[in-house]
């Protein structure tokens, strides 16, 4: 077990270095000089020089790369160009906001998706089953932006069922602001979830042990819940766990539309302000969070599934 964890940790190091190198290349070599974009057309030469010095862009490339690695290790990405805040503080404040939307929405989409999948699997092959699948494909084909814009317009602006946007530091008062974006999140992802979970359930329904269960006289509902669901949960859990890293990044579009000050909003604001240091830091942090979450997921698998040790 310990050797597995150590091996997995060692395997992560070249990936981390590779990621750092790619992001550095992208922003410092491919991107060219960001100072023009940041200062606008009317910048003077001395202003540009000053900003280049401030950002460390006047140093040789390899020293800039060392600087960047130092930033990652010390978790100090300097200050935002637009708001002058410390970027590391912005990120630390953003994570709880992102999670307060992502966690309820994620739990909702998973349970609702699974419940609907079981429901249609019970009616498999019937008109009802086919109709639900058609609705899923149709739902998947509508732009997420359309769900957000129409949802906000109709449910919040027009019918006044929810606040249009906002956020509250108090977790209980926050619920009213989280409700609508979470509802839209669930709607957007329900189509794909039901389809995927339905396949998982149907894969199990045709197995021999299910036939045996029926043969010994169990009715369809008991077979479904007692035998099929238990086994179908294995691929479901795998599918769900893989998505956990994405929860930290949250939903860019939902956060920015509903004024939730999470990592997604920070990134979108930075793009609109041409806030180069923030975009670079956000790309780095979200990637590292993603790798870290993947690592934990894999280690947990190692704990749960004894077969992995032998690979």
């Amino acid at each position: 077990m310990i050797t597995y964890i150590i091996r997995r940790l060692i395997y992560t190091i070249p990936i981390l270095l590779g990621v750092a190198f790619i992001i550095f290349t992208l922003f410092n070599l491919v991107g060219g000089d960001p100072t023009y974009q940041m200062l606008g057309k009317h910048a003077t030469v001395s202003q540009i020089e000053e900003l280049r010095h401030e950002l460390g862009l006047d140093k040789p490339q390899y020293l800039q790369f060392v600087d960047y690695l130092k930033q990652i290790v010390t978790f100090d990405f300097g200050r935002s160009y637009a708001t002058k805040q410390r970027i590391s503080n912005m990120i630390l404040n953003g994570i709880p906001a992102s999670l307060s939307l992502a966690i309820p929405a994620f739990i909702g989409e998973t349970f609702l998706g699974l419940a609907l999948a079981l429901f249609v699997a019970f009616f498999r092959g019937t008109f009802l089953d086919r109709t639900v699948v058609v609705f899923c494909v149709v739902g998947m084909s509508v732009s997420a932006l359309a769900y957000i814009l129409f949802g906000q317009y109709v449910l919040a602006y027009w019918l006044g069922l929810f606040p249009i946007s906002g956020y509250d530091p108090d977790p209980l008062l926050r619920l009213q602001y989280i409700a609508l974006p979470a509802l839209i999140w669930i709607t957007v992802s329900l189509g794909i979830n039901v389809r995927v979970f339905r396949t998982f359930v149907l894969d199990e329904i045709n197995q021999d042990y299910v036939r045996t269960a029926r043969a010994k006289g169990l009715n369809e509902i008991r077979t479904l819940f007692k035998h099929v669901l238990k086994n179908a949960l294995i691929p479901v859990i795998t599918y769900v766990v893989i998505q956990i890293p994405f929860l930290i990044t949250g939903s860019f579009l939902l956060e920015s539309f509903f004024g939730i000050p999470g990592l997604g909003s920070i990134t979108i604001d930075a793009i609109h302000n041409s806030d180069f240091p923030v975009i670079k830091a956000m790309t780095t942090i979200e990637t590292f969070l993603f790798i870290f979450a993947n690592l934990i997921t894999d280690v947990l698998y190692g704990v749960v599934d004894p077969r992995i040790k032998f690979k």
């Binding site: 070249p14 990936i15 590779g18 990621v19 790619i22 992001i23 992208l26 922003f27 491919v30 991107g31 060219g32 494909v137 149709v138 998947m140 084909s141 509508v142 732009s143 997420a144 932006l145 359309a146 814009l149 129409f150 906000q152 317009y153 602006y157 890293p245 994405f246 990044t249 860019f252 579009l253 990134t267 979108i268 793009i271 609109h272 975009i279 670079k280 956000m282 790309t283 979200e286 990637t287 993603f290 790798i291 993947n294």
Partner: protein, 285 residues
């Protein structure tokens, strides 16, 4: 090999819905081409009425109303197909060769080469794709070319993974060993002998690539990192964000409908292609 394609086409033909989807995709391509050549919805950038006039039946170009400059929303939506289809096509043209070459080389040769390529694509796929997309589009500057490149270089990883897996299975099969014994070199074995047996994966992937590209272009344009100076569904949806508060819903509706049918068609076609071309699923159908 021919019989596989004939077989696949016969199965696809029975799927009325898949053929219909193929028809819709061809229609969108024709619209895009006609708009580009100036046969359709031209000129899109002239005033045809008052700003924000609601949809009316007085003529075809008023059917989705007008935008802030009094331009026909229908014409803009039709021109949006140009951007959408070209983004799908060009990004597929960039991603497919990268995915095929890296995937087949890694799977075929194995060893150190495989390790290096797997490291490379694991690294790329460790950057959340939306962040990588935003970062590339941001550093390359605004415009449709940045969108092409950003989508092309971010979307080859899943194809490379699949191709690599298939090559690992195929390289020790008897037909490949037979090819080796009659003197086929590595290049021939990879592209002439094995590749035709995995090409169905490429076709399914291209269909998937199109809809991902169309959806991503909309989000990039919406973030202000995409297309400039020509109509795109993403730009239209971006405009709609401010218009909705004034009750102007038609621009959002037109862009959403335009996008909906083509993404739906690619969704259905992708499923049908998988059923028709993937021999593993054949017995289950």
């Amino acid at each position: 090999m021919n019989s596989l394609w004939v077989d696949a086409w016969n199965r696809l033909k029975q799927e009325k819905l898949a053929l219909f989807s193929l028809g819709i995709i061809l229609l969108y391509s024709l619209i895009a081409l006609a708009a580009k050549l100036g046969f359709l919805a031209t000129p899109w950038d002239v005033e045809i009425g008052a700003a924000y006039s609601p949809p009316s039946l007085e003529s075809l170009k008023h059917i989705f109303g007008t935008d802030i400059f009094g331009r026909s929303v229908l014409y803009k939506a039709l021109h949006g197909t140009r951007v959408a289809m070209s983004v799908g096509l060009v990004s597929a043209l960039i991603a497919t060769p990268i995915g095929v070459v890296l995937g087949s080389v890694a799977g075929y040769f194995g060893g150190k080469i495989d390790e290096a390529i797997v490291w490379f694509y694991t690294t790329i796929s460790s950057i959340p794709s939306i962040m990588l997309l935003i970062a590339i589009a941001y550093v390359l500057g605004k415009g449709i070319y940045s969108v092409y490149i950003a989508l092309g270089v971010t979307s080859w990883v899943s194809l490379a993974r699949l191709i690599r897996g298939e090559f690992m299975k195929h390289k020790t099969r008897e037909y490949v060993i037979a090819a080796e014994s009659i003197g086929a070199n590595h290049l021939k074995r990879i592209f002439k002998h094995i590749f035709p047996n995995v090409i169905h994966i490429v076709i399914i992937n291209v269909s998937l690539q199109f809809q991902i590209a169309i959806k991503s272009e909309v989000i990039l344009s919406y973030l202000g990192l995409g297309v400039q100076g020509q109509p795109s569904w993403g730009v239209m949806i971006d405009d709609a964000k401010l218009e909705l508060a004034r009750g102007v819903w038609w621009q959002l509706t037109a862009a959403t409908i335009g996008m909906f049918f083509v993404v739906l068609a690619f969704n259905i076609l992708g499923d049908a292609l998988r059923d028709a071309l993937d021999p593993k699923l054949k017995s289950r159908a």
